[in-house]
Amino acid sequence: MGLIEAIILAVLAASTPLLLAATGELVTERSGVLNLGVEGMMIVGAACGFGGAWLSGSIIVGALCGIVAGVLMSLIFALMTLGLAVNQVAAGLALTILGVGLSGLIGARFVGERITPAPKLRIPGLTDIPLIGRIFFGEDAFVYLSLALVGGVWFFLYKTRPGLILRAAGDNHASAHALGYPVLKIRMLSVMFGGACAGLAGAYLPLAYTPFFIPGMTAGRGWIALALVVFASWLPGRLIIGAYLFGAVTILQLHAQGWGIGIPSQFMSALPYLATVIVLVLISRARTGGSTAPAALGTVFVPDR
């Protein structure tokens, strides 16, 4: 296997959790809710996903456990921000702090255990094509799922009526409410979808990326996913570019460390985080003319009956 092929495979794997989590958050934000708790939902998804897979011996059960955990976490957030009109930024931070603690509690008994990672696709003939075979036909199911999810979300948001209503709720909740749409219900479902995606993204890490659980293994990926949504200007298609770009930075810095470049490893490890800052600045700067963010993003809505 060539080095280039190995790097591309690694980039795809590293990008998938970012893409999954960012897709969910994009839908949440499109409905007008800023959930900063992605990191918290992901890390709980990772602990529950690994626990489910280890206890049942099934990757699918593990993935489902991750999804359910993410949804449950997101429901706490929905209750706070939609039910009790709590500030979304503060509630998102609380969700992350809670998630880090909970995942430590849940995951403590699984630390040091191993599972068989999710199998890679194998289609005789196609997977054996030199160079591109493994890249296109030899991934684990999550990689294809994440791409399908982006396509599905794009179709939903731009080609269906419920998608239009969801975007309306995110752009002007008062008007959407006046037209008789249940803004809070739409937002709750969007938050739950974001939770499901974040939970699955977290579960991907111990189920397919590295076949074991370590506390804090999300290492800021939830926050990077949040930045990706900004990078993508809230457009699903651009998430793919952004996620693969960040996956590439992550993998290249790892390889650069391996090649023994005379730069201390800590500086290389800091690259993905620095890249996030730089990208955020460049993107925000390019957009000074008019923001593409959903107009009602992060604002509290209390319907007057």
Binding site: G40, G101, L102, A178, G180, P215, L280, S284
Partner: protein, 363 residues
């Protein structure tokens, strides 16, 4: 059944006063349930957590030592949050402050530098923290980049930078390869207040920060501007207040306080620079700021309370084998309840059991 919020005619001052207490009460109930799930006796677990640390003088001093960085950071954060500027990277500013101050301690190590070293270190810590906080603030003001995300990303960068220094250029040659600098000289160490005790000068500095924060907010025009920009941005624009300048100012103050807290922690209780100098002070301080209702005196009380949970958590781990992560769960739940109870100040909660009327009319 449906939960409906009804706006109060005016904010309820009674609830504003008691809401943190309701939040703590609800958190304790939730924690009891969690302890029961973990198979521990809830009453004795809560006792170890919240009562035992208050009964001996060592723990009492230790609470004050842990509360010092929490209060200092939270005072700065409260200014940011009042001005609606979301600095959540105080942890990084804390670490960079520690690094900046330690630079002088490392450079003067073993020389006959005089007692000017410590004040200079504190100043460097404050400057380092302030400059590091200004990065996200400038990105926000100049380019419109979300300060929430950039300030948080810089936490990871600061963490890695500190790690590099203590494993690389600043490592103690006699330290058996442990990632740490040598112990700081006495002139580079924060003095303790009582001989043989743990309480150090940083406690006094934290109290000064509380007083300064209170004066700034209630007695100065800048403090007034900070509050108006956050509470009524439109009115602030009409008043001609420069909200960009206030973002820079609150970030700088908050970074300076976090940075100084960082160097005090390193030159005081820890005594040298090493990774893991903070058990998440920068993040816990966010909870302190909200639990203290973004009010300096409230923050002092809230800081002492959350310091208690750190000490209680350590004692519960030793005495009852309760995992340390319980403390983080506790802090997260507490923040949720604080935020939820704050909602009671502006709204009445109503449960409606019949099916609601058809919605009509805009908000």
């Amino acid at each position: 059944m449906q939960l409906v919020l009804e706006k109060r005619a005016e904010r309820s001052n009674t609830i504003a006063l008691i809401s943190p207490l309701i939040a703590i009460g609800l958190t304790l109930v939730t924690m009891s349930i969690l302890f029961a799930i973990l198979g521990k006796n809830p009453i004795s677990a809560l006792g170890v957590y919240f009562i035992d640390p208050l009964t001996d003088s060592y723990s009492l001093q230790e609470i004050a030592v842990k509360a010092t960085p929490l209060v200092m950071i939270a005072i700065g954060l409260s200014l940011c949050y009042l001005a609606n500027a979301w600095n959540i990277g105080a942890e990084g500013q804390f670490l960079i402050g520690a690094v900046a101050g330690s630079w002088l301690a490392v450079k003067t190590q073993g020389t006959d530098a005089g007692p000017w070293v410590l004040p200079a270190m504190l100043l460097l810590g404050a400057i380092g923290g302030a400059l590091y906080a200004l990065i996200p603030a400038i990105c926000k003001v100049r380019f419109g980049a979300s300060e929430i995300l950039t300030s948080l990303m810089l936490v990871y960068v600061a963490d890695l930078f500190l790690d590099y220094l203590v494993r690389g250029p600043w490592r103690d040659p006699k330290g058996f390869n442990f990632p740490t600098t040598a112990e700081f000289d006495p002139v580079a160490t924060v003095p303790v207040l009582i001989e043989g005790g743990r309480l150090h000068l940083g406690g006094i500095i934290a109290l000064v920060a509380v007083a300064a924060g209170a004066v700034l907010l209630s007695r100065t025009i800048k403090g007034f501007e900070i509050r108006v920009v956050g509470a009524a941005p439109r009115a602030a624009r009409f008043g001609g207040f420069n909200s960009n300048q206030l973002i820079l100012l609150t970030f700088a103050i908050s970074g300076a306080l976090a940075g100084m807290a960082g160097i005090i922690e390193v030159a005081g209780p820890v005594g040298h620079l090493q990774p893991g100098i903070s058990p998440g002070y920068g993040f816990t301080a966010i909870i302190v700021a909200f639990l203290g209702r973004l009010n300096p005196v409230g923050i002092l009380i809230a800081g002492l309370f959350l310091a208690l949970t750190f000490i209680g958590g350590e004692q519960a781990q030793i005495a009852m084998k309760i995992p340390l992560d319980v403390t983080k769960v506790f802090q997260g739940i507490l923040l949720f309840f604080v935020l939820a109870c704050d909602s009671l100040i502006l709204y009445r909660f109503k449960l409606i059991f019949a099916s609601p009327k058809v919605s009509r009319g805009a908000h």
